[in-house]
């Protein structure tokens, strides 16, 4: 059962009333997570977890301590406050301490759907059953995960700020493999509103990709033109690129947006001129949060507009230190073309020779100064020749700078963006990502994994 705003406010007030610290911020989160998992064409595990946590952070003489608790009776809340205060007293000075925010005005975000919160075990079972039946009909082996999350979160400060919001998400991911283990297909989609969610597409796409990946050819690693499906773009850019816009790292020479002489690349055209990378808390398809860092009211924020780096992200501390304004975001990730878009079919038709990539996996940062990532293709790579898909190919490892990948001259075509979530985050996050046709992508070795 999610906390109502009234209940959440009562708990935050109680926590704040228990402390005599100089400053404090409290967070109260309630969550319901229900899930159903299947593998080898059979149900495996199912569960529902409901939890409420309260966390308090206090500062005493600029020294910080935190504690959390998931029992909300008065004695437990008081004990948590006591633990936080005890820790603060033995902690070093928090050199980045800034007073917590006073009252702020938030513009609510519509990221909660009652229909999603009410998804019943039978609904999850019905969808997974449809997936298993479809796998059996197609003679493939299915595995997947259907999850429903609902959350209500509140934050309050000793200086009088209060925020409360709710969110929901329904997510379905599925892998289909041919019985010989020779090919595999995957698809993942999520939505905050189940009435706009299409699990049938997940089932059909996963099975189609598995069937169309049979008997893959082995190609040498090397530099290839590629078409990346939205899932592949989400996997590469969702977390790693967005976190690289941090202003402190740029100022200190540790990021791709650092420039010689202690300067940054703010205002520089780093990316393809059609590319917009931004955050929109109120986007109807991928709503973010009303609350950005430290409780600042979230705002629409362009990090990149028409290829130019328009904003770096200043934390409250770094903004104060450098005389800048703290950045009210990002709270979601939207990557779109400011110009005309091309369909995936048009991208394939226009390709002489290259690779179509379905998704990436096990992506890790190798060098933050160029956002050089390594990882592998997974669950579907195809050779495109003379405007047509010629055959499936085996997987590759890549080592690729995302800055170079999105730079002027490397992007050929950009498609219409759609809602997708990074597959390593299991569909708990989402953004808007386009398919991309790129002139060069660096594959550094071949992988026989399926």
């Amino acid at each position: 059962m999610l906390l109502s705003e009234r209940e959440a406010r009562r708990i935050t007030r109680k926590l704040l009333s228990c402390t005599t610290a100089d400053d404090a911020v409290v967070h109260v989160n309630s969550e319901s997570l229900s899930h159903l998992r299947f593998a080898a064409n059979a149900f495996t595990t199912s569960g529902v977890r409901e939890n409420v946590t309260a966390q308090i952070t206090v500062w005493i003489d600029r020294k910080r301590g935190s504690a959390s608790v998931n029992e909300l009776d008065d004695a437990s809340l008081r004990a948590a406050v006591g633990r936080a205060e005890d820790l603060a007293r033995v902690s070093p000075i928090d050199v980045e301490y800034l007073p917590t925010l006073g009252p702020q005005k938030y513009r609510p975000v519509k990221g909660y759907a009652e229909a999603t919160a009410r998804i019943a075990p039978e609904d999850r079972g019905r969808t997974v059953n449809q997936a298993i039946e479809a796998c059996e009909k197609a003679k493939v082996i299915g595995a997947g995960f259907y999850q429903v999350g609902a959350a209500a979160s509140a934050m309050a400060t000793k200086n009088g700020n209060f925020s409360y919001e709710r969110s929901t998400i329904v997510s379905f991911a599925m892998t289909a493999r041919t019985p010989d283990g020779g090919s595999s297909g995957y698809f993942l989609r999520n939505h905050f509103d189940v009435t706009k969610f299409d699990p049938k597409r997940v089932i059909e796409e996963a099975i189609r990709k598995a069937l169309e990946s049979r008997e893959p050819r082995t190609l040498d690693a090397g530099v290839y033109p590629v078409i990346l499906e939205p899932q592949a773009v989400a996997d590469l850019t969702g977390g790693f690129l967005m976190s690289s816009f941090d202003a402190r790292r740029a100022d200190e020479g540790r990021s791709a947006f650092s420039a010689p002489g202690g300067k940054t690349r703010l205002g520089e055209k780093v990316f393809d001129g059609r590319l917009n990378i931004y955050s929109d808390p109120w986007h109807p398809l991928v709503p973010g949060s009303q609350e950005a860092q430290d409780g600042l009211p979230a705002e629409m924020l362009y990090l990149v507009r028409n290829g130019v780096v328009e904003n770096l992200v200043y934390s409250r501390f770094w903004a104060q230190k450098t005389g800048k304004a703290p950045t009210p975001g990002p709270v979601n990730t939207l990557i779109e073309s400011s110009g005309p878009t091309s369909s995936l079919a048009e991208m394939i038709r226009s390709m002489d020779r290259g690779l179509l990539v379905s998704r990436f996996w096990y992506i890790r940062m190798v060098d933050p100064r160029t956002v050089l990532l390594t990882g592998l293709t997974r669950d579907g790579v195809w050779l495109v020749e003379n405007g047509r898909i010629a055959c499936p190919v085996r997987n590759f490892r890549f080592n690729q700078s995302i800055i170079e990948m999105l730079a002027d001259g490397n992007i050929d075509l950009i498609g219409a963006s759609e809602r997708a979530g990074g597959s390593e985050s299991q569909g708990r996050a989402a953004g808007l990502f386009p398919p991309l046709k790129l002139r060069a992508f660096h594959f550094t070795s071949q992988s026989e994994a399926v």
Binding site: F145, D367, T370
Partner: protein, 285 residues
């Protein structure tokens, strides 16, 4: 607590500072084939990814196909697969002192135990639970069922899996002495491996060039790429028991919803011949 009290934190902080400064003047690595001498502070993670995960039986049976992945090892390869060279022996051990996955009993009440995973280079056994053991004809579980909290579904998780030290009392210097062109690697950096645990790439914290049996200076921008069985079959030198160290992680992710497992991997310093090394600096590539 022993580790927290006895570890020389100030020495480590001093060393980290000195190494950070040294990295500014380190020479970029030339890509190519190198012999690698890997310190336990680095090698434990390679063991975790390339030995720990592919020997989880649930992965081999496709139970984790939708997220963590499957395994290049299948049950029919038990007792047959030449996983590594003859000096390579891996054991699983939930009784190992100071191990992060050390318990008295697993979540099904199966007592903690020790067993071989790779014996004289041959893959010989799996990580099992009571559900899994009968599926490969075993009568008893090795006790690998674990949930990370009250709100999680118990499922197969990795025990401590470690590489046995060599029988000879060889030191790091002994292994370096027999290398004409190589790299000595300490610490963990970037790591990535495919969903069946064949193809991997690892970075590190510090990289030291080896020329004609001697460590000659610091290198930068190093990562090595290999294939699991090629890599472990290229192992031709193991340090003795005195070089054995435990490393580990608190946050090994697996499952849907993701659960976090703490696990340790012990190993001696080890040498691998002719491994492919990349230069990871895209600006120079």
């Amino acid at each position: 607590m022993t580790y927290v009290r006895e570890h020389d934190w100030l020495q480590e902080a001093t060393q980290a500072g000195q190494e950070a400064v040294a990295k500014l003047k380190a020479r970029p690595v030339e890509p190519g084939k190198y012999d690698l001498v890997l310190h336990p502070s680095h090698l434990w993670l390679t063991i975790h990814e390339s030995v720990g995960h592919p020997t989880e039986l649930d992965r081999a049976l496709w139970w984790e196909a939708n997220y963590a992945g499957t395994s290049f090892i299948t049950p029919d390869k038990t007792g047959k697969l030449q996983f590594g060279s003859k000096i390579v022996n891996f054991f699983a051990d939930r009784t190992q002192p100071s191990g992060l996955a050390t318990v008295a009993y697993d979540d099904e009440g199966v007592p903690a135990q020790r067993w071989d995973i790779v014996k004289d280079g041959i893959f010989v056994d799996w990580q099992t639970t009571r559900d899994l053991a009968p599926l490969i004809g075993r009568k008893q579980s090795y006790g690998c069922l674990h949930a990370d909290s009250w709100g999680s579904v118990p499922f197969p998780r990795m025990p401590n899996i470690s590489l046995q030290p060599g029988k000879e009392p060889l030191t790091l210097d002994d292994l370096v002495r027999d290398v004409s062109k190589g790299i000595l690697i300490y610490g963990n950096g970037s790591f990535s491996i495919d969903q069946q645990r064949y193809n991997f790439q690892f970075g590190g914290q510090t990289f030291w060039e080896i020329r004609d049996g001697k460590v000659t200076g610091m290198l930068r921008d190093v990562a090595y790429q290999s294939r699991t069985t090629d890599f472990w079959n290229a192992c031709d030198g193991l340090g003795g028991p005195d070089t054995y160290r435990l490393g580990g992680a608190f946050n090994d992710g697996k499952g849907e919803p993701t659960q976090s497992n703490a696990v340790s991997h012990g190993c001696p310093v080890a040498r691998f011949r002719e491994i492919n090394v990349l230069n990871t600096n895209a600006r120079r590539a």
